[in-house]
């Protein structure tokens, strides 16, 4: 069973003057084994949506299917721990959740909570630290002494060490420099391809959607407006214009070339291939 939202609504602070409907009857099915991007303007319900995936929020109405679980309004929070083991959620600016004395201990914290033995947790921690690109030599340092990018990688390692089947990331590249965010996105691709994790990424960066994601979900005003493959999505110029989405530079450049009379084959999405295609055209 994949991940599915069925008529899910969520209202913050119901019955008060501050009541706010963040999700309105969302219907959505997420494909397993793929990287899905969730995009949409601020306040469109992206973060609320992903917090349903490991039942941090329970729907006010409707139901969420995650793996073999059905989450409804009536579920007791007690039974949800096993779900959280399978769906790892990395929040925005996850570096603020670090609290242990050493990097290693912090990464071990998650697995230990889910009943993994001390040795196994340590083994997993060392492995995941390598996966996220942290040199094991700093494992005994305090996480608070490290740089922002390193802290974020350690926080992500802390979730990965739990070994979830589904990895959900809320704006994982916010506040990172271009180089850092690029290698961060490459890490998620690797986790998807090599470790077969289903990855969901909330993002604002269309370049990332184009280059690293398989599917795209667009949220607007608490509703899921469209859900399709990235390829289809960026070919639908009318829809992109309607949703007021900034088209990635590569595609815009290709479009301008087409207007000027140089039409290139479909499906070019990265700079390298585009450059080669153009080079192929202009050679005498």
């Amino acid at each position: 069973m994949p991940i599915a939202f069925e008529k899910v609504s969520y209202t913050y602070a119901p019955g008060t003057p501050f009541s706010y409907a963040a999700l309105k009857e969302v219907d959505l099915a997420i494909e397993m084994g793929k990287i899905t991007a969730i995009i949409g303007p601020t306040g469109s319900g992206k973060s609320t949506l992903v917090q349903h995936l490991n039942a941090l929020l329970q729907p006010s109405d409707g139901q969420v299917l995650v793996l073999d679980r059905i989450i409804t309004h009536a579920d007791k929070p007690k039974q949800l721990k096993s779900l959280r083991k399978n769906v790892g959620l990395v929040f925005q600016f996850p570096e603020y959740q670090l609290f242990e004395e050493t990097v290693l201990k912090d990464v071990m914290f998650g697995p230990l909570n889910f009943g993994v033995s001390e040795e196994e947790a340590k083994k997993r921690a060392m492995e995941t630290l390598t996966v996220v690109g942290i040199d094991p030599s700093i494992a005994e340092k305090s996480p608070l002494d490290l740089s922002g990018g390193q802290k974020r990688r350690i926080a992500i390692a802390g979730i990965l060490a739990i070994d979830p089947k589904v990895l959900v990331l809320d704006e994982p590249t916010a506040g990172l420099d271009p180089q850092g965010s690029k290698s961060m996105m490459q890490l998620f691709t690797q986790l998807n391809r090599q470790y077969e994790k289903t990855v969901l990424i909330v993002t604002h960066d269309m370049e990332h959607v184009l280059n690293y994601c398989d599917n795209v979900v667009v949220m607007q005003d608490g509703k899921c407006v469209t859900h399709q493959t990235v390829k289809e999505f960026f070919n639908d110029g009318k829809l992109l214009h309607e949703l007021n989405i900034k088209v990635p530079n590569v595609l815009r450049f290709k479009e301008s070339l087409a207007k000027g009379g140089m039409s290139l084959p479909e499906g070019i999405s990265d700079l390298q291939t585009l450059a080669k295609a153009i080079a192929g055209r202009i050679k005498p």
Binding site: Y12, A13, T16, P17, F18, Q51, N54, L56, P77, K78, K81, R84, K85, G88, L89, V90, F91, P94, Y96, Q97, L98, F99, F109, G110, N113, F114, L144, G158, I159, I162
Partner: protein, 266 residues
């Protein structure tokens, strides 16, 4: 945690909302004094009716006030238990297992309950109808005369307004970290004692770290803009007293006077 009602400003448009915050603070003080005037139940009745009507004029929903009082319930149960154990005056109400409950225990608990409820209602009437910023402006103004005696009125007001400003931020931050740790398998409600301590630690340490960071950033930002506490400054928002404010204060004083008469003269 998001529905904390105590001390929260409710943006509505009412007569009470428009009153001068300084006068409201003064009135609140007199009303709090009135709560401690030993005028017995009739006095509390009068005061209760007065405050409920103030809340109604302020267009506040009464169940909002009750929600503000909810955290007190635990305290009251505790109080009742102590009173039942300690107070042995009045007539015997009932006894069980060699345990006697006297009327004064109940009477005393109810008395304190009323007192607390009234105090919460009075302070809520102030905080729910006055913007936190107006409140601090008013505090600064009211402390103004004490500057002569070396009371740092402006600094106190600034501290209060910064503290107030960061309450929602801190609540938000707490919720965020709680959720982040819940995703790592932290369970604040269940688990062994040691696990619970760990759970609380996983919440408090990040909260401390980010609070200090934020404080430092704020201090830097203020310094960068040349903030000097003792500098004379003008205000964008000027507080103004009107006839309505004086009438309100007069009514409150009348009520206080009435209660004192009821308690000591009659």
């Amino acid at each position: 945690m998001s529905n904390i009602a105590l001390g929260r400003y409710i943006p509505l448009d009412s007569l009470i909302h428009k009153l001068d915050p300084r006068m409201k603070i003064i009135a609140m003080f007199f009303l709090l004094i009135a709560v401690f005037v030993p005028a017995g139940y009739p006095g509390y009745g009068v005061l209760g009716v007065f405050i409920v009507s103030v809340l109604l004029i302020a267009k506040l929903r009464l169940n909002f006030i009750f929600r503000a009082m909810k955290p007190m319930a635990f305290m009251l149960v505790f109080l009742l238990m102590i009173n039942v154990l300690v107070l042995r005056t009045g007539y015997v109400l009932f006894s069980f297992y060699g345990f006697t409950v006297y009327s004064d225990a109940i009477y005393q608990t109810l008395y304190i309950t009323f007192r607390l409820a009234l105090m919460i209602m009075i302070t809520t009437a102030l905080t729910a109808t006055t913007k936190p910023l107006d409140l601090t402006l008013a505090i600064e103004d009211l402390l103004g005369p004490l500057k002569r005696f070396g009371v740092p009125a402006h600094e106190i007001a600034m501290m209060i307004s910064i503290a107030l400003r960061f309450i929602p931020t801190l609540i938000e931050e707490t919720q965020r970290i709680m959720k982040a740790q819940a995703s790592r398998g932290v369970d604040l409600k269940e688990g062994k004692f040691k696990e619970k301590i760990m759970a609380i630690l996983s919440l408090i340490v990040p909260l401390f770290v980010s609070s200090f960071q934020r404080a430092e950033d704020l201090a830097d930002a203020m310094e960068a803009r040349g903030y000097v506490p003792s500098a004379t400054r003008t205000r964008y928002k000027q507080l103004k007293r009107t006839l309505k404010d004086y009438i309100m204060l007069f009514i409150v004083l009348l009520l206080l006077g009435g209660l004192i008469t009821l308690a000591f003269v009659v």
